[in-house]
């Protein structure tokens, strides 16, 4: 078991996906426990990978014992070991929470839902763990195809949103594939470590510049970086609650990981920063994403749609850290991958809980919510404070590093953008919290039925992950110093 853990991370959910389908035809009720067991095993395996990396260094796993330049290699270093744990933890939490939600929203399709869910997670884990460019493309497509199908089964409007996502996603994946092709014709290799050794001699070649441009656009499409985010708000608003809770924290983060890998591991920082001003462009796109996401979120009255626009802004934070391309900026970006996954997990699960109990997501309809769902709403406040960036919560620390990085890079505009977006987030979340917590004005209270609202919390399977995520936001904030010192410090790509 132990030396095989890198393979098990991916193989267990993959095989369980087929097992779920086969056993699900026989007994519908089996699909949920199989999913939970598979994702728990995958989580344990990725924990073991991270532990091995922390104690003994980078793991190289040769699939079928074919050696790297020819065979496919799984590489776990500090960066992707860290992200593996995030991905498998978040997907386990969403799987636990999905029980009642899926029974209510998709009663006919439970078995297929869990099959696709596991394939989706397989795709994410594969993208993160692989050390081979073409293998990454295959996993990217597994994740995307499962995502299109999962989104399409949502509420009214979901199929159309999913179709738009499919068009954009396919363009992104095809561009990525073309990039792989251009790299292959100039180097004859598909292995990331091998490419990183061969490429520096060819940095003047125009073919590499074309490949790099294809990668940048393709990955930006997949991670929904402004202005290529247009597919995201619709797709994540209309998707079933459990699907948005899985995709929103992970798809964009995995895309951000791929971007960091290509910019700083496959190509050297020297290439991405000096030979092509890619990081500068990325920084400005990110600044646009942060402002634009927050401003458009202000215009929404649907909570889930508002969160989708906030997510566009959050992608901007990560891209900004990458675009700053200095030590503090990258620390902020990698820390924000962790923090934002937990924050988005909490927020989208809360929306799932609100939908489960009231069936309505408009902000004004949140009245009396703090009496009906006290714990869920308390977590909403914590997550909101974290998105704004108030000190004890984790969101503060990643923003702090991003601000430090902007100052180091002498880009005061970005400092201003970060502060303005924090202020906009204050407005966004206080609008929600005001509606959920404040009592209606007196004249309204007299008109309506007297407020006797019984506590009607979300079901335990849903409440538990929400509370864990809420506790996670607080404890990650407290522990962020430790996390940076023990993991992220080593995860920053060489050359910074």
């Amino acid at each position: 078991m132990v030396p095989q853990s890198p393979a098990l991370v991916v193989v267990v959910p993959l095989i369980s996906a087929f097992l779920t389908l086969l056993l699900g035809w026989w007994r519908k009720g089996l699909s949920y426990p199989i999913t939970i067991i598979a994702l728990s095993l995958s989580f344990l395996a990725s924990m073991h990978c991270l532990y091995t990396v922390l104690t003994t260094g980078t793991i190289h796993y040769y699939l079928g014992t074919w050696e790297p330049p020819w065979g496919i290699e799984y590489v776990v270093d500090h960066l992707n070991g860290f992200i593996l744990v995030i991905v498998s933890f978040v997907s386990l939490m969403v799987a636990i929470s999905s029980r009642r939600v899926v029974e209510k929203e998709l009663p006919e399709k439970i078995v297929y839902f869990y099959t696709l869910f596991l394939l989706q997670v397989t795709g994410f884990l594969g993208i993160v763990i692989t050390g081979d460019m073409f293998n990454l493309y295959v996993f990217l497509e597994i994740a995307s195809l499962a995502g299109y199908a999962l989104i399409a089964v949502g509420e009214d409007g979901a199929p159309f949103a999913s179709f738009n996502y499919l068009i954009f996603g396919t363009i992104g994946a095809c561009f990525y594939l073309l990039g792989v092709g251009y790299l292959y014709i100039s180097t004859g290799s598909l292995n990331m470590a091998d490419l990183a050794e061969i490429l520096p001699a060819l940095y003047q070649s125009k073919v590499l510049m074309v490949a790099f441009a294809f990668f940048l656009v393709g990955v930006s499409l997949k991670m929904a970086l402004f202005p290529l985010h247009v597919w995201l708000p619709d797709a994540y608003t209309y998707a079933p609650s459990a699907v948005s809770a899985l995709l929103a924290p992970l798809m964009t983060k995995v895309g951000a990981y791929v971007m960091i890998r290509i910019l700083f591991t496959v190509f050297e920082p020297r290439f991405s920063m000096e030979l092509i001003p890619a990081t500068t462009i990325l920084g400005w796109m990110a600044a646009g994403a942060i402002l634009f996401g927050a401003l458009l979120a202000l215009a929404q009255s649907d909570v889930k749609r508002m969160l989708a626009y906030i997510l566009v802004g959050e992608v901007g934070y990560i891209a900004l850290g990458v675009g700053l391309a200095n030590r503090n900026g990258l620390t902020g970006a990698i820390l924000h991958i962790l923090n934002d996954s937990i924050m988005m997990l909490a927020l989208f699960l809360i929306v799932a809980a609100i939908m489960y109990r009231s069936g309505n997501r408009e902000i004004p309809s949140l009245r009396y919510m703090h009496r009906r769902m006290p714990f869920t709403m308390a977590t909403l406040v914590i997550a909101g404070l974290s998105v704004i960036g108030i000190p004890p919560t984790c969101g503060f620390f990643s923003k702090w590093y991003l601000v430090l990085g902007s100052i180091d890079a002498n880009k005061w505009v970005f400092v201003a953008v970060l502060l303005i977006s924090s202020l906009l987030n204050v407005i966004l979340f206080f609008r929600v919290i005001e509606n959920a917590y404040l009592e209606p004005r007196e004249e309204e209270a007299h008109e309506g039925v007297e407020a006797v609202v019984a506590i009607e919390e979300a079901p335990l399977s849903l409440l538990l992950p929400i509370l864990i995520a809420g506790a996670g936001i607080l404890s990650l904030g407290v522990l962020s110093g430790e996390i940076i010192a023990s993991v992220i410090r080593f995860a920053i790509p060489a050359g910074f």
């Binding site: 073409f134 497509e141 195809l145 399409a152 409007g157 499919l166 396919t170 073309l178 092709g181």
Partner: protein, 133 residues
């Protein structure tokens, strides 16, 4: 100049096909035409990869029964590179599954809106949105 185009004609065809597919995906209003665009785009990529592997006068990359017989016959210049072909086999699988998912979603859309024209769907969606308010 003309020689330059003619000698690399397969790459030019790849670029033209890719642009046709790209235009259909972005510009066309009909969902089925968009799906056809996806297919043309992906086929163009396959043409590109296979072109990169091709060699004038190259033979099959099989050692047994090859020209010159035996393992000493391995001479990269005279064999067509098999790797891009293998990659494209995988890409074809991805392409077929994308097509399947896209068609399934298009069927869902047709059942809901009774049309596959994007502007008519947007019109209906706007209308139902206003009704809800």
């Amino acid at each position: 100049m003309f020689d330059f185009i003619l000698s690399k004609y397969n790459y030019w065809i790849y670029i033209i096909l890719m642009m046709i597919g790209f235009y259909a995906m972005i510009g066309k209003k009909n969902l089925v035409k968009k799906i056809i665009g996806i297919n043309i785009f992906q086929t163009a990529i396959i043409l590109f990869f296979v072109s990169t592997a091709a060699k004038k006068g190259g033979t099959l990359p099989i050692i047994e029964h090859a020209h010159g017989h035996g393992s000493h016959a391995v001479e990269a210049a005279s064999y067509i590179n098999p790797l891009p072909h293998v990659l494209m086999l995988t890409a074809i699988v991805v392409m077929v599954s994308t097509l399947g998912v896209a068609l399934a979603i298009a069927i869902q859309i047709y059942r809901r809106y009774n049309t596959l024209e994007e502007d008519e769907i947007l019109e209906q969606r706007k209308w139902s949105h206003n009704l809800l308010r």
